[in-house]
Amino acid sequence: MRHRKTVHKINKQPAHRRALLRNLLTSFFKHERVITTRAKAKAAQRIAERLIRYAISGTLADKRRIISYLRERDVAHKLIRLGQENFAKREHRGGFTAVYKYGFRKGDGAEMAILTLLTEEIPKDKKKRKKKVAEPEVIEAVETPAEETPVETAPAEETTPEATTESVAEETPETETVSEETATAEQKVEAESAEETEEKPEQSAEETPEPEGAEGEQAPEKSQSEGEEGESEKEKE
């Protein structure tokens, strides 16, 4: 059975994929943060969590697994140290990484994401607050200070006005069809030319909008180039 054998394929053959992810994960653990496409981030995240589990367990075999996977020995040892000194002391046993969606790349519109190593624990009260939100919505909005309100309590979505190209067709008189059938050749030519001119405004109305909301879609300011072979972009901070 092939149950639970799902792989993020990221549109690559196995060898290519493995090489790419090894490169990506090496730079990820090196810099503790990496900006890639969302698909690659998600694929790398699974393996990152697995490597962290090896680092936490810290047996000789597991250390060797890490060393053989990552391309740089220094980085492997850094991960092992991090696992022993940091991650092993957490209450939770997973969730040491996070993928944050981060806009769209300029060149091809690919969705970008930030894969981060959570070296510091996220304060726990966040979860409690979420539970509160579920019950009294109105009161909660008043209680929480404006700065810290979680995304869930954000003011109701403001949808940008829908670009409507409304019922151009309905305005045309019904008699048209009748007249068409009885029309002389001349009239037909007229009707067709009229059709052409009428179509144009309709189309332009459909193409132009992509209104205020487009602002939110702006690609990240740093435009990244990305080598196919997994030379992932690194974010140094």
């Binding site: 966040k126 995304v151 670009a163 045309t172 068409e180 939110g216 901070e237």
Partner: protein
């Protein structure tokens, strides 16, 4: 080969096309900086997500 029996009138064509509509983009106010942004994403204006800074955003020089 199957062929259309009659030509479709302008009305038919246009009625069909009334359903070609663009949907508006769902935008949300950033809880940190109040700018509009897409939901479930790091804010492109201030770099916050879920109440915490994720990335530092360079500010554009105002003209």
């Amino acid at each position: 080969m199957a062929l259309p029996k009659r030509r479709h009138s302008l009305q038919r064509k246009r009625k069909r096309r009334t359903h070609w509509k663009l949907k508006g983009v769902t935008a949300v106010k950033c809880p940190n900086c109040e700018n509009l942004m897409l939901p479930h994403r790091v804010c492109p204006h201030c770099g916050y997500y879920n109440g915490r800074p994720i990335i530092s955003v360079k500010k554009k020089k105002e003209k």
